[in-house]
Symmetry: C2
DNA sequence: TCAAAAGATACATCAATAATGCACTTTATA
DNA sequence: TATAAAGTGCATTATTGATGTATCTTTTGA
């Protein structure tokens, strides 16, 4: 019972964009390479998440030289329930088929857990990317220094 | 993002006991074999869940001939949040260490998701095994007939 | 016009862990 | 004392998430 790293990576990417695309640099693009260096992640995996975020129209991707991606919406328009539902995949938390469970016709459990799941998402729906950027200054600082270190290593 | 089958099996076992140990047969013991035949499950896996439920003092197990197990508490004293927390394992839904995430010092996400998780369990805490036995009569019927069929197959 | 830099796409492989199986032990009781 | 039950530890399999490789396409600037 844990969110996929894939989902968390998606949120990290959005946080990164939200913190780097501040009022002074509203059109700043980030690249996959940059994200990977900051968070020490696999480029391929991040690639897939970025692509997914692009399909969801949460970010705008651009290929080619000087390409990259940036937020396609204001941070307060990006709701966490939506992001997590989409990245995580919105399956039932108990699978009563595969294989079929005999109790199903009389079972109350699946609906109780299902309602609990909805409460989880309702809670998330009260937050947006903007809430994740509360400590924006500190995040900027972190991302700045985290992005620096591999540069030092490259020359070593 | 799904509960483990292990957890669901535990709840099935409790439902089975609750429905079979009715007012007429309050001391009726069930066996692992019986559960497996009813739900078509692996004896070894059920074995482990039964053992776990025994350690949690939710059921009372007895070894040896004419052994088996029965509920150790009234159904309305067995809260679903407790059962699911224990069987599922109560880990954080996002792991910010392993490997360490640079954003952690400034990140709001883990606490938002953590609160959502608690809301999920708070919801479950409003239900007990008794609620799962709402359709007790139908469950009894289901378990009775489900337990019969393999008996027919054994002689075939 | 071509080379380089970026994301897009498809497929392959690895790793983690849940799920299951097997063998054997211990205990109760008829 | 044989048998039927749960207890225990270890091995194996299956699932799927995580990661890697290769190649393609798009964009842009020299
Ligand atoms: S016990 Fe209820 S929730 Fe669990 S698999 Fe069966 S029908 Fe679904
Ligand atoms: S982004 Fe936040 S929640 Fe996700 S791993 Fe990093 S610190 Fe934890």
């Amino acid at each position: 019972m844990q969110l996929k790293k894939y989902t968390d990576y998606g949120l990290r990417i959005l946080m990164y964009l939200g913190s780097v695309q501040n009022s002074e640099l509203p059109d700043k693009r980030a690249t996959i390479k940059e994200i990977c260096e900051t968070f020490k992640l696999s480029a391929n995996h991040v690639n897939k998440v970025v692509h997914h975020l692009g399909r969801l129209k949460l970010i705008e991707t651009r290929r080619g030289k000087h390409g990259g991606f940036l937020l396609a919406k204001a941070p307060d328009e990006i709701r966490l329930d939506y992001v997590i539902r989409e990245l995580e995949g919105d399956e039932a938390w108990i699978d009563c088929h595969n294989p079929y469970c005999v109790a199903l016709p009389a079972c109350e459990l699946n609906s109780i857990v299902g309602r609990g799941k909805e409460l989880f998402y309702e809670h998330l729906s009260r937050y947006t990317l903007k809430d994740l950027l509360k400590n924006s200054a500190q995040l900027q600082q972190i991302f700045l220094t985290a992005g620096q270190s591999p540069a030092l290593n490259r020359s070593a």
